[in-house]
C-alpha cells in the first residue's frame, strides 16, 4: 500500500471544506444537521465534538491501516469511533453539563454518523497520518460551516437571536416558532440545499442548462 498515491494533504483539506462539503455535496450525517441546529451554541458544540472524534479516529485508523482485514474493517472503524465518542460524551457531561443535556442522544449518535465512517473508508485507511489529519480537519470545517449556515437561518428566524445575542429580536422581531421546531429544520435545510444547487448550476456554463436534467 503506497502512501504517495491519492490526493495530497492540501487537496484533502480544501476538498473537505467546499467542493466535497459533507452536508451540501455528499448529503452525509443528516441527523445532527437537522437535530442540533435550532441554535448556534449547540450546533458549534456538535461541530467541535465531530472535529475531535474525526481527527482522533482518522489518526488511529491511519496508523493501523496496514493491519486492517477487508471484511472486518467497518467493525474496527465503528469500535474506534465509539471509543472516542465515549470520551467526548464523558467530557461534555463533566465540563459542559447543560449543553450535554441539551444535545442528549445526538452525541452518542456521532458513532453512526456516516461522515466519519466514510472518511475512515475513503481516506485514512489508505493514506498517511498527516494526510488523514488534514482530511479530518477539512471535512470537520466543512461540516461546521454547514451547521453554522443552517443554525444561523433557524436561530435568526426562529428566536431572533444569534449565539443567544438579540439581533432581529432587538428590532421587534417576534420569531417564527416553527423554525426552531422539527419542521423548520427540514424546511431550512431543503431551501438552503436548493440555494446551493442553484448557485452551483449557475456557475457552470449555460450549455449544461440546455441538457435535460
Amino acid at each position: 500500500m503506497s502512501s504517495t498515491d491519492g490526493p495530497t494533504a492540501g487537496e484533502r483539506f480544501l476538498n473537505g471544506i467546499l467542493p466535497e462539503n459533507p452536508v451540501y455535496r455528499s448529503l452525509l450525517g443528516m441527523c445532527p444537521v437537522l437535530a442540533v441546529t435550532a441554535g448556534m451554541k449547540p450546533a458549534m458544540t456538535m461541530a467541535g465534538a465531530v472535529l475531535f472524534v474525526l481527527v482522533m479516529a482518522n489518526i488511529i485508523i491511519s496508523l493501523i491501516r496496514n493491519l486492517l482485514q477487508a471484511h472486518l474493517r467497518i467493525l474496527v472503524f465503528t469500535l474506534t469511533i465509539a471509543a472516542f465518542v465515549t470520551i467526548i460524551d464523558r467530557f461534555l457531561a463533566a465540563f459542559m453539563y447543560s449543553m450535554s443535556k441539551e444535545l442528549g442522544p445526538y452525541i452518542p449518535l456521532i458513532i453512526v454518523n456516516c461522515i466519519i465512517i466514510s472518511r475512515c473508508e475513503v481516506c485514512s485507511s489508505k493514506q498517511r497520518v498527516f494526510t488523514a489529519i488534514a482530511d479530518a480537519v477539512g471535512v470537520s470545517l466543512g461540516f461546521a460551516l454547514a451547521l453554522a449556515s443552517i443554525a444561523t437561518v433557524r436561530e435568526l428566524l426562529g428566536s431572533g437571536t444569534w449565539f443567544g445575542l438579540p439581533i432581529l429580536s432587538a428590532l421587534g422581531w417576534k420569531g417564527w416558532a416553527v423554525m426552531i421546531l422539527p419542521p423548520g429544520a427540514f424546511l431550512a435545510l431543503g431551501v438552503l440545499l436548493g440555494g446551493v444547487n442553484w448557485y452551483g448550476q449557475r456557475k457552470k456554463t449555460p450549455s449544461t442548462e440546455v441538457a435535460k436534467g
Binding site: A82, T86, D89, L109, N113, G194
Partner: protein, 231 residues
C-alpha cells in the same frame, strides 16, 4: 387496564407524536435514499422494524444484566473474581461500545440466517440489512431503552415488554413515514419542480410539511391518558 393503557400510550407516543424520522431526525439517510418507490420503502421499513426489535431486545438484556449500576451479571462476575461485594459495579461508560458491537454483530447474523433459511424474505429486504448497521434509528432505540433502565428509580425500570413495544412502535413509525414519503415522491415525479430543488432538496421540503402535519398529533397522548388512566 392501566398496564394496557401505558403500552398504548407508548406506541402512540413513539410511532406518531415523537416519530423517529420526523421528530427526532434519526434514520434520515434511508428516508431520503430509499423513498423513491413505495414497495422499496415498505421493504426498508420492514427491515428496520425487524432489526430494531432484535437490537432492542439485546440492548435491554445487556443493559439490565450487565451495564446498569449494580447489574446482577456484572456484580456476580466481580464477586466471583474476588472483588468486594459492597462495591457497586457500573459499566455505563462501556455502553456505547457494547451497543454498537451488539448491533453490528446481530445484523450480520440476521443477514446470514435470513439468507440461508428464508430466501424469499431475503429477496424482499435482505439487500437493506447491511445498510442498517449504521442507521441512527437502531442506536437511538437502544439509547432510549438505556435511559429507562439504567439510572432510574427501581420502580420505574422498564421491563423487556416495554422495550419490545418501543422497538415495534419505532419501526412502525419509521415505516409509516417512509411509505408516506415514497407515495408523495411517486406523485412528485410528474410535477414540474424547479431544477435546483430536484432530488434531496424537494424531499426535505416535503418532509418539513409532513413534520408539520405530524405536529398535529401532539397532545393526543395526554388527552388519551386522562380518559384511560384518569390522570
Amino acid at each position: 387496564m392501566e398496564y394496557v393503557a401505558q403500552l398504548i400510550l407508548l406506541v402512540l407516543s413513539t410511532a406518531l407524536i415523537h416519530n423517529y424520522v420526523l421528530y427526532y431526525f434519526v434514520g434520515i439517510c434511508p428516508f431520503l435514499g430509499v423513498s423513491k418507490r413505495v414497495d422499496m420503502a415498505f421493504g426498508m421499513g420492514m427491515a428496520v422494524t425487524f432489526v430494531v426489535t432484535i437490537a432492542s431486545l439485546l440492548a435491554w438484556l445487556f443493559t439490565y444484566y450487565v451495564i446498569r449500576p449494580g447489574a446482577p451479571l456484572a456484580t456476580w462476575v466481580w464477586v466471583t473474581a474476588g472483588g468486594n461485594p459492597a462495591t457497586v459495579i457500573d459499566l455505563s461508560v462501556l455502553s456505547y461500545l457494547i451497543y454498537i458491537f451488539v448491533i453490528a454483530s446481530s445484523v450480520q447474523f440476521v443477514e446470514m440466517y435470513v439468507r440461508k433459511f428464508f430466501p424469499p424474505l431475503y429477496k424482499s429486504f435482505g439487500i437493506f440489512l447491511p445498510l442498517i448497521t449504521t442507521n441512527c434509528a437502531i442506536l437511538f432505540a437502544c439509547l432510549e431503552i438505556m435511559k429507562n433502565v439504567s439510572g432510574v428509580p427501581a420502580a420505574e425500570v422498564w421491563g423487556v415488554d416495554k422495550a419490545l413495544v418501543l422497538a415495534l412502535a419505532a419501526g412502525l413509525g419509521f415505516t409509516i413515514a417512509i411509505v408516506l414519503m415514497a407515495g408523495i415522491r411517486e406523485e412528485l415525479e410528474l410535477a414540474d419542480v424547479p431544477k435546483a430543488l430536484r432530488g434531496a432538496a424537494i424531499t426535505l421540503v416535503v418532509a418539513g410539511l409532513m413534520a408539520l402535519a405530524f405536529m398535529g398529533f401532539a397532545g393526543v397522548d395526554t388527552g388519551l391518558a386522562k380518559v384511560m388512566i384518569g390522570h
